[in-house]
């Protein structure tokens, strides 16, 4: 208890808006040490709680087509980072950077979404966020 009184908790916010779940545990489903990047055509966009979702049709280097599901943080957090229901359009090409699923599925948690023209949707989570450096 005394140790805790001297200690300041630095909440792991990962850039001001947490990746923590709305429901299921981030730590259980995603690998916080493995950030991947996937580029594909948007096939669906769900902007609803507990998590938004972006479906991507991804062309692999060997010519195959993979279906990826990208899970976002809760829309209320996305709104506070500049997202809206209209932020993503079916058919547009996005590059999604995020945390890979632990079980190897084509499933990831969004950190940053970038349009084909280079613009970033909303304010991305900072993968390099170091809570020890925050006041």
């Amino acid at each position: 208890m005394k140790t805790l009184l001297r200690r300041v908790f630095l909440v792991t916010f990962l850039g001001g808006a947490t990746v923590a779940l709305a429901h299921h545990s981030f730590a259980v489903f995603f690998d916080p040490e493995r950030i991947i990047s996937v580029t594909g055509k948007v096939t669906e966009f769900q902007f609803r709680n507990p998590h938004g979702e972006i479906g991507l049709e991804v062309q692999t280097k060997d010519g195959r087509t993979e279906t990826w599901l990208v899970e976002t943080n809760a829309p209320s957090f996305l709104r506070r980072r500049g997202w809206t229901r209209d932020s993503v359009k079916i058919g547009e090409t996005l590059t999604i950077e995020g945390w890979a699923a632990r079980d190897g599925k084509h499933y990831m948690r969004l950190r940053k979404a970038t349009r084909a023209d280079g613009t970033v949707i909303g304010v991305p989570l900072d993968a390099n966020f170091d809570p020890e450096k925050e006041d």
Binding site: L4, V8, V11, S76
Partner: protein, 268 residues
């Protein structure tokens, strides 16, 4: 003689001056502290907790609040985004049946249409990171959480909890009282739900006591949430949670869509 009297008079004058100066400094210090205590108060003179509260980036456990936690309590360090991995419960000593159930838990079991929109109870729901609003009256204080649209009523009129067989819910039945400038909230009648979001659940006999305290400038709401559950735990648990007031903001509706629960199983 004259010189001695003069010295004595001078000494007395100096002593008197020092005393007056010290008193003036003390009054000034008190006035300074008083002027820094800008706590907004209700007409009843209570600290006004009303407003929008967002989880503070930095959590600084308040020594006064922590000292009031009962004996045999472990302070969980998972406020906000931090989550315990499966099998880790932050120092909680779990009874055998509950521990076995926690070990049987599979995370994918929660990723179904029937479970995707099952909210946790306030034991887990309030540890962050979602914001909430407080609407404070004299006989009622309402907490409106963004997370799963949970709404709590804190009865401040001295009523007791209802009988044990009264309905249970994820927000339970809460009665509150003021201890000086601290709001103390006692909650029972919570339905079983997760404690640490990794398979460990409390029973419907869990008992929760929260203490809320405003910072002197009124911008920070500090709290401890303590809980005991003799059916599940050998010891007791608590969390320190601190929020920052953000005027002009509101909670968004959550309106959970259970179809999310089917998505994970579709991924290959």
């Amino acid at each position: 003689m004259r010189s001695t009297l003069g010295v004595l008079a001078l000494a007395c004058a100096l002593a008197l001056t020092a005393t007056v100066t010290q008193a003036a400094e003390k009054d000034s210090a008190n006035a300074s502290r008083a002027s820094h205590d800008s706590t907004v108060r209700t007409r009843a003179g209570r600290p006004d907790l009303s407003g929008f509260w967002d989880l503070s980036r930095t959590q600084r456990p308040d020594a006064g609040l922590v000292a009031k936690l009962p004996a045999n309590t472990v302070l969980l360090e998972d406020t906000g985004a931090t989550e315990f991995p499966p099998g880790e419960f932050g120092g909680l000593k779990v009874k055998p049946d509950a521990l076995a159930a926690a070990h049987r838990w599979k995370p994918e079991d929660d990723m179904t249409v029937s479970r995707a929109c099952q909210p946790p109870s306030i034991v887990y729901a309030t540890q962050g990171p979602f914001p909430f609003e407080i609407h404070q009256g004299t006989d009622l204080i309402v907490f409106k959480y963004e997370y799963f649209d949970l709404v709590r009523i804190i009865f401040m009129d001295g009523r007791p909890h209802p009988p044990a067989d009264a309905p249970h819910s994820k927000v339970g039945h809460s009665v509150g009282r003021w201890e000086g400038d601290e709001l103390v909230v006692d909650t029972t009648h919570l339905s079983a739900a997760t404690i640490t979001n990794n398979g460990l659940s409390h029973s419907d006999r869990v008992h929760v006591v929260e203490r809320f305290k405003l910072s002197p400038d009124g911008g920070t709401l500090m709290s401890t949430m303590w809980f005991e559950d003799p059916e599940v735990l050998e010891n007791r648990g608590a969390r320190y949670i601190e929020w920052t007031r953000k005027p002009g903001e509101y909670v968004y509706p959550y309106e959970c869509d259970p179809s999310f629960g089917s998505k994970y199983t579709q991924a290959k």
